[in-house]
Amino acid sequence: MEQMVNVYLFGKHYEVPESLTIMEAMEYAGYQLVRGCGCRNGFCGACATIYRIAGDRELKGCLACSTKVENNMYVATLPFFPLVKEVYDIEQVKPTEQIMMQLYPEIYACVGCNACTKACTQGLDVMQYIAYAQRGEYEKCAEESFDCVMCGVCSARCPAGISHPQVAMLARRLNGKYLAPHCDHLDDRIREIRDGKFIPLIESLMGKSIEEMQELYNSREIEK
């Protein structure tokens, strides 16, 4: 018999096997999840959750899909958090400090409490990436925030009302579009395709018999 632990889902007591994740514990308890369940593997941020272990003062943030239950864990899921998402035209904005001041001025009200970083379910240095955003250092902000799954637990803990994931989203798009080095070989290839350079080759492949294609495929050279 597997070792059982006591968990309190929204305050209600259940006994569940200790090997389960919080999400599996909810299903073990009989929940049919609709909200708060997405990729079930730490990529989509649907299952933001806060919990406290009885006797512990610290409130922790996690993803329910990838956090194991602990004994005397009090759990509340946070399947939606009202983040502020400002609308902008990616073709019109410029990657300067100005745009953050305009769209997300609350980032300059950061009090440096670091609650966002402590709450991050991905272990990111959230306060640091907000600092980069404040300074218009979007490349650094993009790199530091890259693994963000936009679950919103950081924002739930922020006394300044910052929507960190949306700030980082803007920084990454600015970096990807305007600051990252331009790829010339991609332009060249698109031009060649538009000029019809590969049409004869592809058409000749499409006209071949299966046997001819098998021969070509099985003897093709593979780049080392």
Binding site: G30, C37, F43, Y88, F146, R173, G176, A180, L216, N218
Partner: protein, 535 residues
């Protein structure tokens, strides 16, 4: 360090052999060896796992039991439940599904000036796109060409792909990358802007573009942000329950259901795009899956009932490297990029038993053979597995390479105390992708007029096996194209009278065929609660 002594003893053999194994480049299998291997070990060849459809457009074709049960189930919508003369939503283009294909389609339909609405049964971005890790293919390097890409994909798919679709896929690939770059997607690049590209299983050129190992997540969150910037209406937590047709049999909208209140709504549209994704959560043959919670084949069911034919619905992709240990991540995807950047597949005795970059179906079959008849698997609590020797990556590329190139994998295993820089990881095939799906023509339209489809719900682009990196590519190429074409088509559509008569006719066909599955479909969500109650 593994606590299980048997696993740890085997891990030590892998570590001891690493310095020699890392120098190897195991030969590729011959075509004959691959055929024999697939026939003997690939799950698609287990005849007892399939049945013949008795009704509908694919009557006489075989599909997995689990899919047949839903394709031949009765509708969840009872006639009379909804008034078809009063639409709650009225748009030019209705997009069903909020993943990569649906969102790309919505953006392009909007760009083309159509009024467009997205409905999704969970949230926009809750999709397999978000979980695609490894990358996206495009032949944009000087030593490569779309023709070479075509050859790799056509051969890898066992010469079964629908050629016009595959030609479109490879020809429009570079443009797809440029479009994503222009939206701000952060591809891995060298300081001079050259794309950092690697091999995937079955590629003959290094054309896998990536955004670390969050490639799909980076693409999905950017597309979602763009759709929100355009203020395209997204009706979330709302599932499509049935397509509605007009009196001439053309698609003209859908019956929707709020997933929380279960209230039915009617959406009327001039054209409809089905972009509902795959079916991993049907757990074919009892396999675990790498798929999203909502991957329950809904689009196949809706399209089929409305008269759309399926292509290759009997071929599934089992990703060779699903996590086999620990239990909490059983079946989760271990991206093929781990092999692209240098990790090899090693058996329980520390032997490199195959070239790690064979195509997915061949790799999966080879791992199943190693764990079954050959008896070279590592015994795990859930069954048997082989090693993916991750520490090799840093032997080849230096310290720090794992954190830089595959941070998501490092985090996924790190949460359970496994440091993939130090210890190898245990893998076994996991249900990953639906190779087959709705048949479309090159404009993205199904056999039902005004019903378009894009993404994993489509069959035929990849033939009977898909290469890594061609799915993120197909959702962008065919998603965009469906959006543009559906918008264009919507301009000439004269709205008609809405009907669900096709559902009635389908029910009659089931009766005549004597099929009684006892199920209702679409399934919408898997049944994981301990009470065993379906959603």
């Amino acid at each position: 360090m593994y606590l299980d002594p048997v696993i740890q003893a085997s891990a030590e053999k892998v570590a001891a052999a690493r310095a020699e194994n890392v120098k190897l480049d195991p030969r590729r299998m011959t075509a004959e060896e691959k055929d024999q291997l697939l026939r003997t070990y690939h799950p698609d060849y287990r005849e007892d796992q399939f049945q013949i459809l008795q009704a509908g457009p694919n009557r006489g074709d075989k599909v997995p039991h689990e899919l047949a049960d839903l394709l031949q189930a009765r509708s969840r919508v009872i006639p009379g439940d909804i008034d078809l003369t009063r639409a709650d939503y009225d748009v030019d283009v209705l997009v069903i599904g909020g993943g990569g294909a649906g969102t790309s389609a919505a953006i392009e339909a909007h760009e083309a000036g159509a009024s467009v609405m997205v409905v999704t049964k969970l949230r926009m971005g809750d999709a397999n796109t978000m979980m695609a890790e490894g990358g996206i293919q495009a032949a944009d390097k000087p030593n490569d060409s779309p023709a070479q890409h075509f050859l790799d994909a056509y051969g890898g798919g066992h010469f079964a792909a629908q050629k016009d679709l595959l030609s479109k896929l490879v020809t429009e690939a570079p443009e797809a990358i440029a479009w994503l770059s222009g939206l701000g997607v952060e591809f891995d690049k060298a300081p001079d802007g050259t794309m950092i590209t690697t091999h995937g299983g079955g590629t003959s050129r290094k054309r896998m573009h990536a955004a670390k190992d969050y490639s799909g997540a980076e693409i999905m969150r950017t597309l979602r942000d763009e759709a929100l910037n355009r203020e395209i209406p997204v009706v979330d937590f709302t599932a499509a329950m049935e397509l509605v047709l007009d009196e001439n049999g053309r698609c003209a909208g859908a019956v929707l259901m709020n997933m929380e209140t279960r209230q039915l709504k009617l959406a009327r549209a001039r054209t409809v795009i089905l972009a509902t994704g795959g079916a991993g959560r049907l757990h074919y043959q009892g396999f675990p899956t790498s798929n999203h919670y909502g991957a329950t084949a809904d689009g196949l069911i809706l399209g089929y009932r409305a008269g759309a034919r399926l292509l290759y619905a009997d071929t599934l992709q089992y990703h060779p490297t699903g996590a086999a240990f620990p239990a909490q991540i059983f079946g989760a995807l271990v991206t093929e990029k781990v092999r692209s950047v240098g990790a090899m597949l090693i058996n329980a005795n520390g032997e490199a038993f195959m070239n790690p970059l064979e195509t997915r179906d061949v790799s999966a079959a080879s791992i199943i053979r190693e764990c079954s008849d050959r008896g070279n698997g590592v015994k795990t609590p859930a069954g048997s597995a082989v090693w993916l020797d991750t520490p090799m990556i840093e032997l080849k590329h230096g310290k720090g390479a794992i954190e830089k190139r595959i941070p998501a994998m490092m985090r996924m295993f790190g949460k359970y105390g496994i440091d993939i820089r130090v210890d190898p990881i245990l893998v076994y095939p996991t249900l990953h992708y639906q190779n087959g799906g709705l048949h479309i023509s090159a404009d993205g339209q199904t056999d039902v007029e005004n019903l378009f489809a894009a993404g994993e719900v489509v069959g035929g682009i990849h033939g009977r096996n898909r290469l890594m990196g061609n799915s993120l590519l197909d959702i962008i190429v065919f998603g965009r194209s469906a959006g543009r074409n559906a918008a264009q088509k919507s301009r000439s559509v004269q709205p008609g009278t809405l009907t669900l008569d096709h559902v009635e006719r389908f029910h009659q066909a089931l009766e005549e065929a004597g099929v009684h599955t006892g199920h209702l479909s679409p399934k919408l969500l898997p049944t994981y609660n301990s009470l065993g109650k379906d959603f």
